[in-house]
């Protein structure tokens, strides 16, 4: 069985997704237990696969025994293995959180929710695992459709926001599909490794430039990279908290992964990839500044976090664009940092809204007393977002800054510094209200701390934010540095 782990990681959540709605009607507890079991399996299996590829190198798995380039191939290298572990870890954390939330708000739909949730996870794990450009599109759509349904569960405004996301997201995936079509026409193959090989014989052509442009723009829409982020703030604001906590953390990161995979592995070293990276560098700097600036102007905490994500995605693509080993380590480390911390922030923000009905920044006054542990986790994650030591966010920013410095990318340096300052302002504005400003009316109010099932994941994520930074060395040397393309390192 262990020989089939790469496909099982995708198939087990998929099968569970089909079983769960049947169980959910009568026994929601069993349905959720199956969901959690599938996610735990995905996490453990991802860990095992990662451990193997770190030791033995790339693991190529041929679906149904069909040899590539005719059959579909799954390729797990340290990059995709690391992403699988990250995605399944986040999925498990948010799904654990979801149980208490759903039980209290909407117990009748647990089966449906879990089914869609597992489909979303299947899609994201598939994107990461596959070594085939078209198969990637299929998983992109699976995850997107599941996400549309989940995000729309947040009520009327969520439905409108999600419909807009559906329209824009479909444009994005269509762009990606068209781009893939161009490459298929040029080379006659969809297998990534095969494509790389055949492209060297094709040479430079306008078709290639159009193809890569479409792919990059399509994925940038999916990753909510400025200026393609228009769908994102509304969606994150109105979606149910357990969904935002996972989607905001994992989905955009997986799209960023796809950009990295295409530009550095599939098309690594080609002039068109280089121009795409230059474009992304400019976009990244703008994203960092615009995201932080817009976050500053928000009064709703969820919207503030959403715009903060726009800025943080800028950090990541800026790192991709600089492209030196240290900058790429920074970018990938920042993927990890932002995924874990933003998940924590959204889960707490959603929890606060659920327990108190508040979501505006102004309403966080005295929250440090009413939900002490949740807000402590929020504070750790916020400090990491600002990039202050000793959290993981400081170290990822350190590597990005070092990379930008060595590459003499002064706009990048300036953007990183300015954005740190701006995010300090908008996060400390919240923290000041939470912990410092006192309101006598609140002294009498009872504790509104989250139930253990929701608090647990939040605290685990926050602890990860504290520990991953200080004890980063094994992670970076064994996984992230090996995840870099051979052309770079």
């Amino acid at each position: 069985m262990s020989a089939h782990l790469p496909i099982l990681i995708v198939v087990v959540p998929l099968v569970a997704a089909l079983v769960v709605p049947l169980l959910g009607r009568r026994t929601p507890g069993v349905a959720h237990a199956v969901t959690l079991a599938a996610l735990i399996f995905a996490l453990v299996a991802s860990g095992l696969v990662l451990a193997r590829v770190v030791v033995d190198g790339v693991w190529r798995y041929q679906l149904g025994g069909w040899a590539p380039p005719w059959g579909i191939e799954y390729v797990v290298d340290p990059l995709s293995g690391g992403m699988m572990v990250l995605v399944s870890f986040l999925a498990l954390a948010a799904s654990t959180y979801a149980w208490s939330y759903l039980l209290a708000t909407d117990p009748g739909r647990i089966g449906l929710f879990d089914s869609l949730y597992l489909l979303l996870v299947t899609g994201l794990l598939g994107i990461v695992a596959t070594g085939d450009l078209f198969n990637l599109y299929v998983f992109l759509e699976i995850s997107a459709i599941a996400a549309y349904a989940l995000l729309a569960m947040g009520g009327d405004r969520a439905t409108v926001a999600t419909f807009r996301y559906l329209l824009i997201g479909t444009v994005g995936s269509s762009c990606y599909l068209l781009g893939t079509g161009y490459f298929y026409a040029l080379t006659g193959t969809l297998n990534m490794a095969d494509l790389t090989e055949r492209l060297s014989g094709v040479g430079e052509s306008p078709a290639m430039a159009v193809g890569i442009g479409l792919i990059v723009v399509g994925l940038a829409i999916k990753a909510a990279v400025f200026p393609f982020h228009g769908w994102q703030p509304d969606v994150y604001t109105y979606a149910p908290p357990p969904v935002t906590g996972f989607v905001a953390a994992a989905m955009t990161k997986v799209s960023a992964y796809a950009i990295f995979r295409v530009l550095y592995f599939v098309l690594g070293g080609t002039p068109v990839a280089a121009s795409a990276l230059v474009f992304l560098g400019g976009v990244g700097v703008l994203a960092i500044l615009a995201g932080s600036w817009l976050a500053l102007a928000q009064t709703d905490i969820r919207r503030m976090l959403a715009y903060s994500s726009v800025g943080q995605m800028g950090y990541i693509v800026l790192g991709f664009s600089i492209g030196s080993p240290i900058a790429l380590v920074g970018a990938l480390f920042h993927v990890l940092n932002h995924a874990v911390m933003k998940s924590c922030l959204f889960l707490v923000a959603g929890g606060v809204r659920w327990r108190t009905g508040f979501s505006s920044v102004a309403s966080f006054v005295g929250m440090g007393r009413r939900m002490p542990l949740s807000m402590l986790a929020f504070a750790v994650a916020a400090v990491s977002m600002v990039g202050l030591p000793p959290t993981v966010g400081f170290f990822s920013k350190w590597y990005l800054l070092l990379g930008a410095f060595e590459a003499r990318a002064w706009p990048g340096v300036a953007a990183l510094v300015v954005s740190s300052g701006l995010s300090a302002v908008y996060f400390f504005r919240v923290l000041e209200r939470t912990f410092v400003v006192s309101d006598d009316r609140l002294v009498a109010t009872e504790s509104r701390e989250l139930p253990a099932g929701m608090l647990g994941p939040v605290l685990v994520l926050a602890a990860a934010g504290l520990l991953l930074g200080l004890f980063q060395q094994p992670l970076i040397t064994h996984v992230i540095q090996r995840a870099l393309p051979a052309t770079v390192s």
């Binding site: 240290i326 380590v329 030591p389 410095f405 740190s420 300052g421 004890f471 980063q472």
Partner: protein, 494 residues
């Protein structure tokens, strides 16, 4: 415990208190016991490294490797130990003092107070023992974060305003410092603090000049070099023990410590002379000393007057670093301990005046010298010391600074030191005169022993360190050792 694990243990012991304290939110006795135990253990651990360092050893502590040749690394040299000893011995005294002060003022949020205090001390000792710029920066920023809750402790709008101002200044400076450190890292990858500096000849003079300016702007905020000092007088809204330890010892000294580390262990005095930055730094320091003296004269609030005095005194240290001769560096480094003990004695006195006599101003202290003899004597000893009266701790620093300035041919600086001493007399002596030579106006008694004991000890220390600068923790020898290693250069193997 072997020598190599002690630096880390010294940092972590107060961090352990940070974890334990919140568990005893409703049990003040347990909370205070934890604080004292941690403070005492910390001092014992730090002091236990003294013999080895005095014997000329540099203690290599724990290393936490990161990637690209970077690491978080602790190392104890004479200069670091000097700072750590000052901070941890004063933490113990301040803990005793806090006990009395917080009870006397019936303060709320005491748990958060003790937690933040312990976190600050961990960060401070981390700064002292940091072996490279990255470690220094990590602890430096943790110190910023841990101090914020103490500045806003009163939870009044005024305190919130001071807290915001504090964050804007320190976090802003932190980003500047970060850029400078990243830049230095790209010039000299993985370099660690080296007596005599490691940047010499690695970049053009112009580059080094700009880099130095960034470093000084980054550290200058905490060191309250004018015009970057605006947060310090505002932060005096914090409770007096906070002002005492953090705004006379830990935070501001961390900034001054950074300046000396950068001058002596990153750039090297000779490299700075080549860029001409030493003269610029001297000018800024001298201007800060003089302007702060004038401003202190104009402040009627006692703590704010002390704050401006601190701003001036810190620039003595900066000045000594800029001059860069053995005598000047010795004076500057000794001033870490000397100014620490003197200024904290004065802050302790100011706190006792606040809780017992309910006086916050510099006027209306008539006759208190008779009613609160310990308090006002400690205050007077601190004030005379800062003015540079011989046989007190401040004189040692000033004398060495003066000698160093003369050796280096900067006669004007001696004039600055003398003028500053006269200003000290002008803004402190009227207070002492009122207290001791005017008739008392009401009934006031000495504060309780938890407040009187620390202020007595620190006041006595101001005297003892002036008579025998090597008494106890050998501060003078440590300063001398460190200064000589900087001037000799290359004292530590890489």
């Amino acid at each position: 415990m072997d020598l190599a694990s002690r630096p880390l243990a010294a940092v972590l012991v107060s961090l352990l208190a940070v974890v334990l304290l919140p568990l005893f939110d409703r049990r003040p006795t347990v909370r205070e016991t934890i604080t004292f135990t941690a403070a005492a253990l910390k001092l014992a651990l730090v002091a236990s490294m003294l013999p080895a360092v005095l014997a000329g050893q540099v203690i290599e502590g724990a290393t936490l490797p990161l990637v690209a040749g970077l690491s978080l690394h602790l190392r104890v040299d004479a200069f670091g130990l000097l700072f750590a000893l000052t901070a941890s011995s004063l933490w113990l005294l301040t803990s005793v003092y806090s006990l009395g002060y917080l009870r006397a003022t019936a303060s709320t949020h005491q748990t958060s107070y003790y937690v933040s205090f312990a976190a600050c001390l961990s960060a401070t000792v981390g700064i002292a023992f940091a072996a490279n710029l990255l470690t220094f920066f990590v602890c430096y920023e943790v110190l910023t974060l841990a101090t914020y809750p103490l500045v806003v402790h009163a939870r009044t709008p005024e305190a919130l305003g001071a807290g915001r101002r504090y964050l804007v200044y320190t976090l802003g400076a932190g980003q500047v410092l970060l850029v400078a450190i990243v830049w230095a890292q790209s010039i000299a990858p993985g370099a660690e603090f080296t007596p005599g500096g490691f940047l010499a000849g690695r970049a053009s003079t112009a580059t080094l000049g700009i880099l130095f300016a960034l470093f000084i702007a980054g550290c200058g905020v905490k060191a309250a070099i004018m015009p970057l000092h605006g947060w310090l007088p505002a932060a005096m809204v914090a409770p007096t023990p906070v002002s005492a330890l953090l705004h006379a010892v830990a935070v501001v000294k961390a900034g001054a410590f950074g300046v000396v580390r950068i001058v002596g262990y990153v750039f090297g005095v000779d490299t700075l002379r080549a860029t001409g930055a030493d003269i610029a730094l001297m000018l800024i320091a001298a201007a800060t000393i003089l302007v702060a003296s004038v401003r202190a004269l104009g402040e009627d609030n006692l703590k704010r007057r002390l704050a401006y005095s601190t701003i001036g005194q810190l620039s003595y240290i900066v000045l000594g670093a800029a001059v860069g001769s053995v005598a000047a560096l010795t004076g500057a480094m000794f001033h870490f301990a000397g100014h620490g003990f003197m200024k904290i004695a004065m802050f302790f006195s100011a706190g006792a005046l606040h809780t017992e006599a309910h006086r916050d101003g510099v006027r209306g202290l008539d006759g208190l010298g008779r009613q609160m003899p310990m308090t006002m004597t400690a205050f007077a000893l601190g004030a005379c010391g800062l003015a540079g009266v011989p046989l007190l701790a401040g004189f040692i620093a000033k004398w060495n600074l003066g000698v160093g300035a003369l050796e280096a041919g900067h006669v004007v600086l001696v004039g600055v030191l003398v003028t500053s001493g006269l200003f000290n007399v002008a803004y402190f002596f009227p207070i002492i005169y009122d207290a001791f030579f005017k008739a008392p106006s009401g009934q006031v008694r000495e504060a309780g022993w938890p407040m009187v004991f620390p202020l007595g000890v620190t006041g006595a220390a101001a005297l003892c360190l002036g008579v025998a600068p090597d008494l106890g923790f050998h501060f003078f020898t440590l300063a001398r050792l460190a200064a000589e290693s900087i001037v000799a250069g290359g004292g530590v193997p890489q």
